[in-house]
Amino acid sequence: MAEVDVDPITTLIPGIDSSQRHLGFVWGPGDLLAYETQYKPTGAQHAAQSCPFVHVVRKDEDIYSPILRKLFNESHHIFVGLQNMKDDVPSKNKKHQYVTHVSKNYRSVIRACMEELQRVAASDIIPRWFECMFIRQVSILLAVELIWNLCEVLFIEAAPAGSLLLHLLDWVRLHKADVDEKAQEVLQSECPAEHQAYWDVTVCYILQGRIDEARQILLKQASQQPAARVTFKLMDSLLMKMPIYNPGGTQTLTEFDVKWRRWHQECDRCLQDNSFASHPHLELICKILVGDEDTLLEQREHLSTWYHFLVTRLLYCHPTVKPTELHYYAQASMDMFLDGRSAPEPLDSILLAAFEFDIHQVIKDCSIALNNWWFVAHLTDLLDHCKLLQSHNLHFGSNLREFLLLEYASGLFTHHSLWQLAVDYFDHCPEFGRVYLELQIERVPLDTERKALKVLRICEQRQMAEQVRSICKIMAKKALRNNRLGSALSWSIRAKDAAFATLISERFLQDYCTHGTFSDLDLIDNLGSAMLLSDRLTFLGKYREFHKLYAEKQFAEAARLLLSLMTAKIAPRSFWMTLLTDALPLLEQKQVIFSADQTYELMHCLEELTTGKVAPETELSMQEDNIEATKIELLRLALARNLALAIVKEGTLEA
């Protein structure tokens, strides 16, 4: 495989003198920032430029075109369908049919996209330069479809001698459709036979091998020229007798070949005995029928491309051409047709490589010449499914497919919504797909909770534990910064981040202490087993449960829970005073709620809390301490009273 060396493209950054300064840069997810700088540590400070610019340099990918987005979306469906093929299609023959069908689907998506582009380009609502872009895209798509179709004929359909030519004829007809427009124009005119484009159309029909249509249009001329009736009749019979290979028929290729040679000789004879000498147009047609090269080359205008010339030449000289012989005719036709008038363009060499059955060259040249990876990635994948890449080059068949798919998908990932399509492409790259996805997906900006959930779902489905954790953590951090405690808590629970959950629970409790109410009740009430993530979170959940019980007037239950929070050391010591204060109203109730034993335990807690206290130092804390002391006194009183009541009550019941 010869290396086609291509010079790197230079992109100019405005306002920077590269001979004087350095160009600094930094990679972004989808673009590159460039700025003027000076890396050399020069002693004397150079005349500083007082307004440096930072330039956003972007790959000019077509993914930003709204119409091409449809192409990406539609082809994504086809791609995914193709990847799932193995399971559905058992027999080899059916598989082949299916792959051909997929190839046609891809092409019809390209066609639809092209039509849409043309339609939009033709409407006047869009600015001129936009129209230019559309026309450029149409021309690229047109080429893409042309190459794809040829690859389909040669590689996927893999038509044998005989039917090969029929497929090539279809290919040329499809891509040289202007004949039909012209024919329409001629046939709809008042007198078609006298229309100036009449003979052009007729010759074009013959060049494309559309014999029936040619005969019909010739009939119109024949009826106008009764004098030349015999000549026209002769031509008509020649055309009628022209053998066309029928791949489904009983006739063998050899039989066809014999028949065709006989016909060819007959045409030749007509030419030799000057049967059409009186009629230059018919003589020209006859010369085409015998495949006279000079005559064909004179029709350059009508053929317009070397590959049309090739196919016409094959039709009238070598209708039973074998796939292996194609490259010889292709090269010769190209040389003859271009004849040094113009150098072959990228498209020409790509088609030539296809005729040479050099798949790798086709893919390689296409990836150089086209400015997106869409085409090469999808075509290579399709060819890989036909097992064509392996047979051609055992070493790197599947790698090439993956390489191209990764490039294409990475490109999609820079787009704010198309990145979701890229996920499926990465999924079908066995070697590096997952790592690429991991690297790319964590860079998707988590602008909203909805987007974060979307990204999260993708990661969860693929068991990307680290990415899941990271996303949740980022979201938790973000929510906390914005003081949305509930959201922060639920994200840190998802991240299973105990430290962070503790921190947020702490904030909730602080808020409760200052405001006396809880926010985000829904969340705290429904913690369930998530509560066990951190001690503080467990306490938060349980403490909230206590409040619920209290509100529901289930005082005994509430009292038991409150006590257990302290005795089981679930509550942090700093919070015990609040809990004991919460016990106050329960102690003051008319009915006895805390039993004698429970009251003892409460008293124990209170003593434990107060014994370790150090003497206050400042005046302010002394004042605070006074309040504290009063609280403790109140509590002691209430506890003592409750104990008395409880003992009396318990004693009475026993009696």
Binding site: G15, W27, L142, F396, L400
Partner: protein
């Protein structure tokens, strides 16, 4: 590639570093004017400066973002011998209305006695750790034990490389596969000192960083280095900016005994070497998936390097100044207002992108045949004018420059195959 947008950075002096945040929605710039600026990208893709403050009392060499898991945190390092950590706090409502954010200094790291030349956060799986290196040859690794309190940083490790350090790079891949690893580059110009790239590895047993490897073949000053994401491979890839661009492959050698406590030894291979910059190379950096390497050198260009699927490396793109210093009529640089100007620029540049768009294939058929070159003509709005009015003039010069710039270049930076 094309210039999609130009942002007037409004620094009073040379910019030394620009850094994207993890998601690419924010960037930070730092400059010899001793300040750092933070920029936010709006929905429409425009960049707005949301904070600008004096950070150091000397040139600020580098600025870098912590992983968003740790919040909105920046670190900067400077000629003033310090590195600093900054955290954005959610400001008061009127700040928000003005679209401004507030950054406060959490700590100043003053251990270095010479200019701090590089600052990098360690990979996030190691916790919140910050690394600095300085001209006196010391690499310092700090840790914030409590990620909620960024004012406390403790100096965990001091690695003396014995050579003036210019740059550091952490191996980004996770510790499960291998111990934490950091590469240190030196710009010491004395060739006899031997290898200018040292690789240190953390040892679980001694809880210290030990030298695992010195790239002996790199004897010239090193200005930058960058580990590529590991991609699950068994080897590591390190790009080095020295008198040329080099890409090394470091293959860990099997340890003799499982209990061996010595650092990993590597088999070092050179994967590629490019001297296209003609002289010193100052920066190297990988894109996210390490499919592209960019380098900046003395030729004033940024070059993009890419390997095909058979690991052949090639230059696939060049960014280059167009050679015109931006000087307006009054001798003052032409300033474009950052916000107002950039939207106008954006549309013009989108246009420019079209012009730069490739034209590979002739239209194959009418009705498009007639338009083969039509779209290459400039739209009327771009035709040059010699208008003396101040504002339109600056606009025009810019447009002219832009238009005469990258138009009509063909071929994308992707000779993929």
């Amino acid at each position: 590639m094309f210039v999609a947008r130009s942002i007037a950075a409004d620094h009073k002096d040379l910019i030394h570093d620009v850094s994207y945040d993890f998601h690419g929605r924010r960037m930070a710039t730092c400059s010899s004017d001793q300040s750092v600026k933070v920029w936010d990208k709006s929905e429409s893709g425009e960049w707005h400066c949301t904070a600008s403050w004096k950070t150091h009392s000397g040139s600020v060499w580098r600025v870098t973002w912590a992983h968003p898991e740790f919040g909105q945190v920046l670190a900067s390092c400077s000629f003033d011998r310090t590195a600093a950590v900054w955290e954005e706090i959610v400001g008061e409502s009127n700040d928000k209305q003005r679209g401004q954010s507030h950054w406060i200094k959490r700590t100043t790291l003053v251990d270095s006695r010479t200019s701090v030349t590089d600052v990098k956060f360690a990979p996030k799986h190691m916790g919140l750790m910050l690394t600095t290196c300085s001209a006196d040859g010391v690499v310092r690794i700090y840790e914030a034990p409590d990620v909620m309190n960024l004012s406390q940083w403790s100096l965990q490790h001091e690695i003396s490389s014995k050579l003036s350090c210019s740059c550091i790079s952490w191996n980004p891949s996770s510790s499960r596969a291998h111990p934490p690893m950091i590469a240190v580059g030196s710009d010491d110009s004395c060739v006899t000192y031997g290898g200018k790239v040292q690789i240190y590895e953390y040892n679980e047993n001694t809880r210290k960083y030990a030298k695992a490897e010195t790239l002996m073949t790199v004897t010239d000053p090193v200005h930058d280095l960058a580990f590529a994401p590991n991609l699950g491979r068994s080897f590591h890839v390190l790009a080095v900016a020295t008198k040329d661009v080099r890409i090394f492959k470091l293959m860990p050698m099997r340890k003799e005994t499982a209990t061996s406590s010595g650092p990993t030894k590597f088999e070092v291979q050179i994967m590629a070497q490019f001297d296209h910059h003609n002289s010193q190379v100052w920066r190297v950096s990988w894109n996210i998936t390490s499919t592209l390497l960019a380098s900046s050198g003395d030729d004033g260009c940024v070059r993009l390097w890419k390997a095909n699927y058979m690991d052949n490396w090639k230059c696939t793109g060049i960014l280059k100044g167009d050679g015109s210093p931006v000087i307006g009529s009054s001798g003052q640089p032409v300033a474009l207002s950052a916000a107002g100007g950039s939207s106008a620029l954006a549309s013009q540049n989108a246009l420019n992108g079209v012009m730069a768009g490739r034209y590979f294939f002739p239209p194959l058929d009418p009705p498009w045949a007639g338009s083969r070159y039509a779209h290459l003509l400039p739209p009327p709005s771009l035709i040059e004018q010699t208008c003396e009015s101040e504002s339109s003039r600056s606009q025009q010069t810019l447009l002219r420059r832009r238009f005469s710039g990258p138009a009509l270049h063909s071929l994308p930076e992707k000779e993929g195959v």
